[in-house]
Symmetry: C2
Subunit: 355 residues, 2 copies
DNA sequence: CTGAAAGCGCTTACAG
DNA sequence: CTGAAAGCGCTTACAG
């Protein structure tokens, strides 16, 4: 039959290697896959190896996949991770872990649209992917699509509502404890405020607030538990409107100071809110860390750009990605939630209280 | 219909659809691929469609690929683009353009290592990718690997030294003109400085300086050409050590002011250098834009976070990615360099000169 | 218009 | 230890 493919120079096939080496195709297949259990003679092994090299033979992965059902390919399926900047280091972590095993990564963003997600998953399954890393830009609870049941899956930066999956998430509770610990160690006692609650009665206005983000409740839980273990508690909470960005953080702290609060330290729900806090404190002529200490979360580039640099408990995105890929490749599919430590990025924003 | 097959069962094949519809496999193939040129009866067409739906048939892309040589898959091969934050919107642009055609994206970063690049390319070719978007984090000149010659390729955010490729790059020269135009329109004449040259005799210390980045020379060329067209020229250049970051920008402007320069405007090679300029100006009690205007390049999030917000000529990463994908899918492979307009992000950092 | 057949490039159970 | 053969799930030229 005529070959209608748009190929100029045909690629070398296994048959050609067999012919050149003067052995069967089986033998070539065994050699190429390093199957020593077939007890091939050293001579055959060497002849095949040489013939393959001389011809520049590269196995056709598509044919292997059709035969074996394994493609050496996995997919990273997310809402926004691979196409936006925020949590992109997760992709790097996964890619690096997979590179060593010659596994390639399909990158697929659904932008939060379930229909797009379904179409993309079917498209992926049609390509015989070996597994899926299902991930989210923000750490949150998800309902993994039922379609995923037929494929090996690891949840990254999210956990299933049901809980019977393998999931990798940052250890947000421990991060909260760490933040509190830093302040307690510096001598803070009864002037520690938390900045970043949603306003009372508010479930969230922005999209991701309705997606059940875990950062806020878990960070707060860790903070309160750690303080309690030292017999302390938060002096209070400052609510932030809608999004956790700098302008909202600024307004929250402005209100706090206007209301007459005298905080010795602010634990901000993330670095952007902390940046806003810096502005409000600066305008009110409070010095950091002399008059007030500030801690953020995320470990974003922003933290290093502030004056003074912000101490922040950072999201270990690359580690998370690497861990998820490693788990996906392992044989162990026992449902569990793995929590990855969030390291402290020490800045110059924490000092001892003066009041 | 929903797929009611017990999980663990084999996927439905084309043969099963043929059997259920009572037609040949050829007919099913023709219907599934919408080949109306075969003049199938409306009845056959409908029976196949129904059988496929009832069985939940999904074509096996691997088998199609083996047969046709086309995989409906392209690869985005870069140094760092898909695994870091900086130019990530290019991935978004490409993904969005491809989504409409049900084409999936392999994402592959070489981290600048030619050996890794070669291995990854072979791995991709073994999977019968239909094309490659070859891209770089920074706009620069590249020598595309010879291996790429066998595959349809579009260069994204880079151009080949040889020049016989299809390439998509930001229009940096025009961006430089735009920056100069904004200042001239505001009334600036002989106090316009450029901040961001490499020190005299320096080819670059950091890795990417040796990779031949185009941003600096092209932006500068545009600025100078535009000024010349109004009979003006730059008052001078302030060199920046090594990397174009905020601390280096700050030092450059500090030196400039110490040397007694009285700039009416600073055109900074990027936003980070501009942020450094802000600090130096602030420390010297120059007000922006009352005493001095500042313009940056990149359109980074940083620009909006500065006080006052920075006017910046922005890199249209998403547009670039979308355009590259579209070109790759088009039939036209005529070598050319497409330049994409860099839009102005207007801030509040440009005013009329007071001196 | 339809159907039987070849073939894409592999892997692997099986007979020798 | 080796080789012939079946088969993964498609597409398509070809004979009817």
């Amino acid at each position: 039959m005529t070959d209608s493919r748009p190929s100029g120079t045909r690629r070398v096939t296994l048959s050609q290697v067999a012919e050149r080496a003067g052995v069967s195709r089986s033998a070539v297949s065994f050699v190429m896959n390093g199957r020593t259990d077939q007890r091939l003679s050293a001579d055959v092994f060497e002849r095949v190896r040489r013939a393959a090299e001389e011809l520049g033979y590269r196995p056709n992965q598509t044919a292997k996949t059709l035969r074996t059902g394994r493609s050496g390919t996995i997919a990273l399926v997310s809402d926004f991770v691979s196409s936006t900047s925020y949590a992109n280091a997760m992709v790097r972590g996964a890619m690096r872990a997979l590179r060593e095993r010659d596994i390639l990564l399909f990158t697929v963003d659904t932008e939060g649209d379930p229909q797009v997600e379904e179409r993309l998953l079917h498209s992926l399954f049609g390509r015989d992917i070996d597994g899926v890393i299902y991930t989210s830009m923000f750490t949150r609870i998800v309902d993994p699509p039922p379609l995923l049941a037929s494929t090996r899956t690891v949840l990254l930066n999210c956990r299933a509502r049901g809980g019977d999956d393998v999931a990798v998430v940052p250890d947000e509770v421990e991060a909260g404890r760490e933040a509190a610990r830093l302040l307690v160690a510096a001598g803070h006692t009864d002037g520690i405020w938390f900045v970043g609650d949603l306003p009372p009665g508010r479930r969230g206005g922005l999209l991701w607030n309705e997606w059940g983000p875990l950062a806020l409740p878990e960070r707060l839980e860790g903070i309160e538990r750690e303080l309690a273990s030292s017999g302390l508690s938060l002096a209070g909470h400052a609510a932030v409107e809608d999004d956790w960005d700098a302008p909202n953080g600024q307004r929250a702290v402005e209100r706090l100071l206007e209301d007459g609060a005298r905080p010795s330290a602010l634990i901000c729900v993330n670095d952007a809110v902390a940046a806003g806090a810096y502005r409000a404190l600066h305008a009110a002529e409070w010095r950091i860390p002399d008059d007030v200490s500030v801690i953020g979360f995320d470990g974003s580039p922003l933290a290093g750009m502030l004056e003074p640099s912000l101490t922040s408990i950072s999201l270990p995105h690359e580690d998370l990605g690497r861990r998820a890929a490693t788990l996906l490749l392992s044989d162990d599919a026992t449902p569990r939630v793995e929590r990855v430590r969030m390291p402290v990025h020490l800045g110059a924003s924490v000092g001892s209280p003066t009041r």
